[in-house]
Chain length 201, copies 2
Amino acid sequence: MSEIKRKRGRPTSIDTHSATEAMVELFRAKGYAAVSLDDLSDVTGLSRPSLYRSFGNKLSMYINAMDAFGVQVAKTAVPKLLADGPLEEALSDFFDAMLDIYYRDSEVTPGCLVFGTAPSSSDEALVQARLKFGIDQVDALMRGRFEKASPNGDEHVIETAMHIASNTLIAFSARAKSGSSRHQLSRMGAQSAQAISTLLS
Amino acid sequence: MSEIKRKRGRPTSIDTHSATEAMVELFRAKGYAAVSLDDLSDVTGLSRPSLYRSFGNKLSMYINAMDAFGVQVAKTAVPKLLADGPLEEALSDFFDAMLDIYYRDSEVTPGCLVFGTAPSSSDEALVQARLKFGIDQVDALMRGRFEKASPNGDEHVIETAMHIASNTLIAFSARAKSGSSRHQLSRMGAQSAQAISTLLS
DNA sequence: GCAATTTCGTACCGTTTCGTACATTTTTAA
DNA sequence: TTAAAAATGTACGAAACGGTACGAAATTGC
């Protein structure tokens, strides 16, 4: 591939990826408006001017965090849903994988960056667009998986199943933040998966 | 009853109820952290010191708004769910009544104050408590209604139906904020009501 | 070594924030 | 009419905010 073209001046010492990760964790714990640039500077270890140089202003840091969060979901959870095998198991595994993300380490429950924090910052067009994209993606993913599992299924039934599945996931975030245990939500996901499975059969 | 005991000094000219209403609208449009006391002063027409005297600090204004919002829901939407008649119709009417609240006037879509804005402010214990209370209330309400409609129903099935119904409502808020039309969500609510109705029969 | 180039953090700016002290206004009691 | 009592808004203070100018530091090309 292309060699690393050493640039002329002082080389960067900034790890953009780990900084983004830290910002994701902070934003989904406290939301957008409650996070200050000093907070972001603290958790990333980067000075405020460095943050501006690397990520632009606060809003674009948040957008960047949302996109990174989406990539994480796409990499770790979505494959569980698309896996071969019984639909009920795939759905249940997907829900559990999402709970792995929502609960992170046990200490605190950050929930979902998109479904949890974007709704209260949706006056910004870019944020609202990400929220819409997230919801649309989940809906489309569910619909595709259900159509695969039930090729001749009634379109109306598939749409109902799609909404039940997506709404379960969306509600996870609020429920996790409200204090529900991981185990409770895992159970809820399994129930939802079972109901959808029988609905489609 | 007791006569109005005219107090000694200058009488209040503050309408607490209409001020609370204005604060509800502002908070659910912009969330907690993004709202300043000057914003609250603007929408209520009250000076900042008056706000402090009447409602305490910003957090207690938000708590007060959440409680008032809960009362509004209990008065206007909950009776639809508890009404006699077919379960499917009661559920569907309840969802529509909640959408009346979530969409308010057509211009902007404020969504749900509790499910929409509380999750991103839940590091405050009082807020998290309200969020938990809201979710628990909806769950309990649904369970009670379903047990009434299906007295000998399997407990496991009732719990599943309860979660589908509650999650539909919780997801309404995020979906409304993401740009879904009222009509789309009304359709979704009707689908959900139908699925639950057949699940319980 | 020396100049050109790029990155980095200190230090600063103007604005906005929450919260309150205090003088003014309005009312009742005597 | 005058004093006490309660409510109200102006005006202020201290802190936090987002954002940036600018000099110091680090590297490459010559």
